[in-house]
């Protein structure tokens, strides 16, 4: 990072005579009231040198301290003097330099301006994006200079858009016209705002027309992005519902256990993820921390599966054939598991981080950012589904599970070790709940109530799909997810949720056995 910056600066230095950061400047940037600090940043960046960039970077990362009128940059364990770069000893009364949002914004812009000349294309692309937000005439020369040097087509295009955005305010109608035409290619919502704003005050007919055309084009691409976003969020919600329901599709759908502790088995998976994260933090080098989640997947599965196996052996197995009693017993189990977690981990939520590769998102269609964590979860849900479908439909264990749950004693007479099959099946369902918990830890709370928040949804999905029908579960999850998101965009979250529930009530009237009902005689048997 620092190295890149330095080489970026090198380019700048070619163009203008650099001016070295002084101790006073550093102090001015770090202390005082925000207005003065911003002014100081402006001055320093006008002719930046490597030290300035380094210092700004440290500020942006909250690594700057002051003590007794001196400024220090903290680097790991040591402190250095930002001006000389020499190691310095940090006084014990040193105070953090606190930058508020406004200050941080200025620092980022300043850094972007410097990075515009970085040899690293991705750095430059990022810098253009950062600068494109607010068109500012003062930046025009810088952008033009960057445009001259730029070779990368995509970045050029972005730069041109940024320039056009600035030129839209130009005195010269010809320039405005060109700018308006150029902006038709933009897909950013900021452009629309800009166009709307400028259109109101545009005197020139031709420019007006061009602006209107540009506006239409921007709006249509924005509308597409919005629709795509809605579908994505629907699928994403659906994938979460699916994960949450899949385990239940086994323990309840196949085995007939009204498993009120399903949510708590998810919770165990989530806490297992938390524990793995903690172990990585404590015992492994920071570079591998990002992979904790990969390690957490089997651990979460295993922890929940083990708990499931214990529950099956200890309680559930005595209740086969008495499904309503399983409701009562698993309700009791769920109370105990929640309290157990409160006793062990505390009543408050615990923090589970997205690994860096799952943070942020990928920008598509210009303005739509799809978060990585959601994309990964969609993929994960698909993988779990595929694995489970294979296991249930294609393997002997799957066959035994289905057979045993339909007629336990006869399956036993056929030579199926029903006790083992039951335990395995319940552990499998529980393990999948654990996987769901692991996934949920990436988007929501990890706390003692995690399970309670999803249990109702989980049952609705399984039942709506048709009990024992894996395909039904899938359709129900995705359908509810997308329906919910479309309604939410239209009626708000609360009414959407109510509408979805009412939809379920009405839908079941039409299909009293769920989406994928078993038809014919076998339904009664």
């Amino acid at each position: 990072m620092i190295k890149n910056l330095l080489s970026a600066l090198f380019c700048v230095l070619l163009a203008a005579s650099a001016h070295a950061l002084t101790a006073d400047e550093a102090l001015g940037i770090a202390t005082g009231d925000t207005d003065a600090r911003i002014e100081a940043v402006g001055k320093a960046v006008a002719q930046p040198d490597a030290k300035t960039a380094e210092f700004l970077q440290a500020l942006a990362e909250d690594r700057v301290k002051t003590a007794g009128g001196k400024v220090f940059v903290v680097q790991g364990e040591k402190a250095i003097d930002p001006v000389t770069g020499a190691a310095a000893s940090l006084p014990s009364d040193a105070e953090d330099v606190i930058s508020n949002n406004r200050m941080r914004g200025e620092i980022d812009t300043a850094l972007a301006a410097i990075r515009l000349f970085s040899p690293d294309a991705s750095q430059r692309a990022q810098a253009v994006r950062a600068l494109a937000g607010e068109p500012d005439e003062a930046r025009l020369p810088m952008i033009e200079k960057a445009l001259q040097a730029e070779t990368d087509g995509a970045i050029r295009q972005q730069l041109e858009l940024a320039r056009a955005a600035i030129l839209l305010a130009s005195e010269d109608p010809a320039k405005r016209l060109a700018a308006a035409r150029a902006l038709a290619d933009s897909r950013s919502p900021a452009t629309r705002t800009l166009l709307v704003e400028k259109l109101a005050s545009e005197p020139d007919r031709a420019v007006q027309a061009a602006m209107r055309a540009a506006l239409r084009s921007v709006e249509s691409s924005l509308a597409w992005a919005e629709r795509a976003g809605q579908v994505f969020s629907g699928i994403s919600l659906g994938s979460i519902l699916l994960l949450v329901a899949l385990g239940l599709a086994i323990t309840y759908g196949l085995m007939g256990v009204i498993n009120m502790a399903h949510g708590e088995l998810m919770m165990i998976g989530a806490y297992a993820t938390y524990v793995v994260q903690g172990l990585f933090q404590r015992y492994l080098p920071a570079e591998v921390f990002g992979w904790y989640l990969v390690a957490a997947v089997p651990v979460a599965f295993g922890a929940s599966a083990l708990m499931g196996a214990i529950l099956e052996r200890g309680v559930i197995r005595y209740l086969y054939g008495r499904p309503l009693e399983t409701l009562l017993a698993t309700w009791g189990i769920s109370l105990m598991l929640m309290q157990l977690v409160r006793s062990v981990f505390g009543a408050q939520n615990v923090g589970v981080e997205n690994p860096s590769w799952m943070s942020g998102g990928v920008v598509v269609l210009g303005s739509l950012q799809l978060p990585w964590n959601r994309i990964v979860i969609i993929g994960f849900a698909a993988a779990v589904l595929a694995g489970m479908a294979f296991l249930i439909a294609r393997t002997r264990l799957g066959l035994f599970v289905r057979g045993v749950t339909q007629n336990r004693s006869i399956a036993s007479c056929m030579g199926v070790n029903t006790a083992r099959t039951d335990t395995l099946a319940f552990a499998l369902g529980s393990g999948i709940a654990g996987l769901a918990g692991c996934a949920l830890s990436q988007v929501g709370n990890v706390g003692p109530d995690l399970g309670q928040a999803y249990i109702v949804d989980a049952f609705m999905v399984v039942v709506l799909g048709g009990v024992g029908q894996l395909a039904g579960t899938v359709y129900a999850a995705l359908g509810l997810g997308i329906l919910n998101k479309f309604l939410e965009g239209w009626a708000g979250a609360v009414l959407a949720k109510i509408a979805v529930l009412v939809f379920i009530v009405v839908f079941i009237q039409k299909r009293p056995q769920g989406l994928f009902a078993v038809k014919g005689r076998s339904a009664e048997a």
């Binding site: 909250d62 009543a347 408050q348 923090g351 943070s359």
Partner: protein, 399 residues
Amino acid sequence: QSGNTIKVGILHSLSGTMAISETVLKDTALMAIEEINAKGGVLGRKLEPVVVDPASNWPLFAEKTRQLMTQDKVAAIFGCWTSVSRKSVLPVVEELNGLLFYPVQYEGEELSKNVFYTGAAPNQQAIPAVEYLMSKDGGGAKRFVLLGTDYVYPRTTNKILRAFLKSKGVKDSDIDEKYTPFGHSDYQTIVADIKKFSAGGKTAVISTINGDSNVPFYKELGNAGLKAKDVPVVAFSVGEEELRGVDTKPLVGHLAAWNYFMSVKNPANDEFTKKWAAYAKAKNIAGHKDKPLTNDPMEATYIGIYMWKQAVEKAKSTDVDKVIAAMGGQTFKAPSGFTAKMDEKNHHLHKPVFIGEVRADGQFNVVWKTPGPVKAKPWSPYIEGNDKKKDEPDGKSKV
């Protein structure tokens, strides 16, 4: 009073949905009581805490209150978090002429002779926060998304804020009010909407999202690329405890308004946080023994207990009416670094207001604060008719 001890009730949910927030208040209260006992108790008698679990069930709050007051005969109750639990308890404490200390920020619009409110009223939290957002340093926000969980505290707060914003010349079209159900966990649409709304001008989000939904909200916010410097979010229900469950790196710069932050530097807070860390370790309090955190309601609980102690000592009795009379004007050197004072009349504290920005480590940088404590206005002047309200409870209990 039985024997040599004075019983006090602690009425916080230790199970159910609110346990997440309330459990730690129970521990804070126990810590304060232990401290007081270590220094000889009150009026020479030791305090005996009676802990009950109302289990996040509002009618159970009322039942437990009656039990604490009639069976255990406690001298005062420290408890409740949600407004609805307080409202459930209120008729009982009024009927039996008891004392409740309520430690959480709330929507105001209430005054009871039998309740002391040690959390913030809207003017001690929400209004200053919005003023800050509108200031240059706060980013000069022109448009506002009022986002909350669908219940009374957010609704009321937003109503007050809307009136306030209007008085500052913000148009209705620049205000977007949105609610999510309790326990809502999918904020994709909301965040997308905020993004869209923010394209229309400098936007800030004022969040009254209730505890549990915050984590998914902030996670979504972080991953959808909405940065604090573009669209700052100021929250009234997010403190150090809530951020425990979030990866705060992408959230740096988002804001919260409270009357106390763990990160404020002053001797009183140093002592408070150290005591808490030691207590959590000694009592093996899950979560806090490894990562002790303090927050505003804990501070408010702590202040409440000490002020009650002082009032009892002043009144030389635990008699409720005498204690109520002695409460007015009590002061306490609070961990916030300021001296909190119980208003002579309106049963609320005078408290300073801090605005903090989230740091990467889950703590807050105080970026703004009031010069001194602010008097609470439980009857918000932004609500019609409240100007006629008396700023003190009716003298008689309301039976």
